[in-house]
Subunit: 109 residues, 2 copies
Amino acid sequence: MTDAEEKRADALFHALADRTRRDILRRVLAGEHSVSALARSYDMSFAAVQKHVAVLERAGLVSKRRSGREALASGEVEAIRSVASLLDELEAVWRGRISRIDDLLADRP
Amino acid sequence: MTDAEEKRADALFHALADRTRRDILRRVLAGEHSVSALARSYDMSFAAVQKHVAVLERAGLVSKRRSGREALASGEVEAIRSVASLLDELEAVWRGRISRIDDLLADRP
DNA sequence: ACAACCTACAACCATCAGGTTGCATGTTGT
DNA sequence: ACAACATGCAACCTGATGGTTGTAGGTTGT
């Protein structure tokens, strides 16, 4: 794992470790939403929601495009799949434990 | 999503959002390690590592069993799979994004 | 018995995260 | 032109996080 990959993993998991951000992500995965439209859905200031979207964007989980005065956010499913890959790697480590035990057993005559 | 499920998701993603903790998790997924054995692997105090293990344990990613004076930690692959399920749910939202009518209604309060 | 070891937890400190308000800038509809 | 709207960013406050040291108690080997 390179240092950059670890930092990206940090950003991805951190972005997902907040209930509001996961909810925003669900919405923008379902379809484009402007930041202010998202903000109207939550009991917090516009700025707070804008910061959450920025965190998701920095992690690559959300992308934005400009349409006039609005910034339309949409979810990046590829980023979600990359998180799933990170989990797969962890599970592969676990599977390796089993095969190592198998090897030990195989070594016993 | 119930409140308890969201809190569990918070704990899981937060636990994974730290490089040292992910590294610890890899080690204990590969096989049992005592806390002090883990601590020797990192350039930080025993207490710091012990706290990282505690965070992983609270999230359910690691379990500990006592063996004499040692606490042996091992990784819980089921917890990792539950995180993968959370990601699957997000991806399912994305797959359903075309045939979404709920959001049109939800967007007009 | 006792020294060495392992763990757990408390207190403390610096930094970060999530929230607020306020302001500057660009866009739109009348 | 101009009022209303959408965004982005900075400053600020408070609580949580990640690290430290210190302390206390249970286990082990000699």
